[in-house]
Symmetry: C2
Subunit: 210 residues, 2 copies
DNA sequence: GTCTATACATCGATAGAC
DNA sequence: GTCTATCGATGTATAGAC
């Protein structure tokens, strides 16, 4: 929590915590790998995950209270990956071009990992609800999307729904019909230009009626 | 198979077959109901399904070779519902208006039954692949979509991908964020008009460069 | 924290009698 | 076709040694 105890006690708690966090990260990573390779998200078994990280199944309970808690950690991990990559997007001055790049990135991100897309954007696991802490990461991402939208002048709910519908659809189609490919990534620019033309049309017609 | 044996034996095979088909339909209907009510698609258990149709769990294997075979029957059933409703859409002369109505119907169809949408349009069940016979029904539906697209002059793959991306996204958002509602159904007209405007723009620019 | 051992409930699936 | 009985695998969870 702080560095007040480092003088008398050279970071033993931090060390343990770091080891624990590293093991947690390993477990989550191996769970992703299992889900990707064979079984899908609901197909992974805690016994298999434990074996991958050189633990017995009951020992996983030292890290996760339940299988759903593991899913929650994976959910948070996925959104951390997403946020980490979003902030690394190259800065673009033109907000319209920035929106295009943002959408291309989102669709590509989904295409890169099908099971990750399923966990983050589809609600496919029975009984799973992200914890408030994990969902806060999702909200953080959505806020970035809203901000990019606002930068091109879209602040009304209908316009936002139109936008999210396009992005969700391109990601879904990319994952379902061309996983790992770029068939809908390539159409993203055209889609957003189409969307922006529609925004312009609506803005003009509203101005004209005033 | 044939009617050669009906003289001596008044349709006993047909009768049995009809009873069997009726029972099959009941099983599928109850499976849908269970998936909708509580558990989701992967959450239904064969024991619960069997109980609903007054059978013991192993007796279901007289009708389905496996749980995946039950999913396959549900998949086919869902596409039959879709096709049945599509052909009942009121005839509209203007192909652009017809396309709008078609998309509104598709999004509403998804909104009407979330688990049906998941089985038909998302690939969420580990290990499930529709059989060729069931998938033929899906292809039949896709052909109708292509035909409606061709009627407004869209025959190129890019335009088709743009279209399917929009429809898939609106359906997905409707199901995920407003199940049973009409938030994205209401935006469908605007989305398709936006799409058609983009088609016009591309057609013009191609003409101009000739 | 990690282990062994164990328990319980549920699940898909199979064998074999009728 | 339907049943009873049973199997192996699974998720969940706990007790207790180290």
């Amino acid at each position: 929590m702080s560095r007040l105890d480092t003088a008398a006690d050279p970071q033993p708690v931090d060390r343990r915590q770091r080891r624990r966090d590293a093991k947690l990260a390993t477990i989550v990573a191996e769970a992703w790998d299992l889900a990707r390779r064979d079984y899908g998200l609901t197909g992974i078994s805690l016994r298999d995950v434990a074996e991958r990280v050189d633990l017995r199944q009951p020992s996983l309970y030292a890290y996760f209270d339940s299988k759903l808690a593991l899913y929650d950690a994976m959910f948070a991990d996925g959104y951390r990956q997403l946020l980490e990559q979003v902030v690394q997007l190259p800065q673009v001055d033109d907000p319209r071009e920035a929106l295009v790049r943002f959408v291309e990135f989102c669709v590509r991100f989904s295409s890169d990992d099908v099971v990750r897309h399923q966990l983050l954007f589809q609600r496919t696991i029975p009984g799973f609800e992200p914890s408030p802490e994990s969902y806060a990461l999702a909200l953080e991402f959505f806020a970035i999307g809203r901000q990019k939208l606002a930068a091109v002048g879209v602040t009304d709910p209908d316009g936002a729904d139109l936008f999210t519908g396009i992005v969700a659809g391109f990601a879904a189609q990319q994952v379902a019909n061309d996983p790992g490919g770029d068939r809908w990534v390539r159409q993203s620019r055209r889609a957003i230009e189409m969307f922006l033309a529609d925004i312009d049309r609506h803005t003009k017609s509203r101005k004209a009626s005033r």
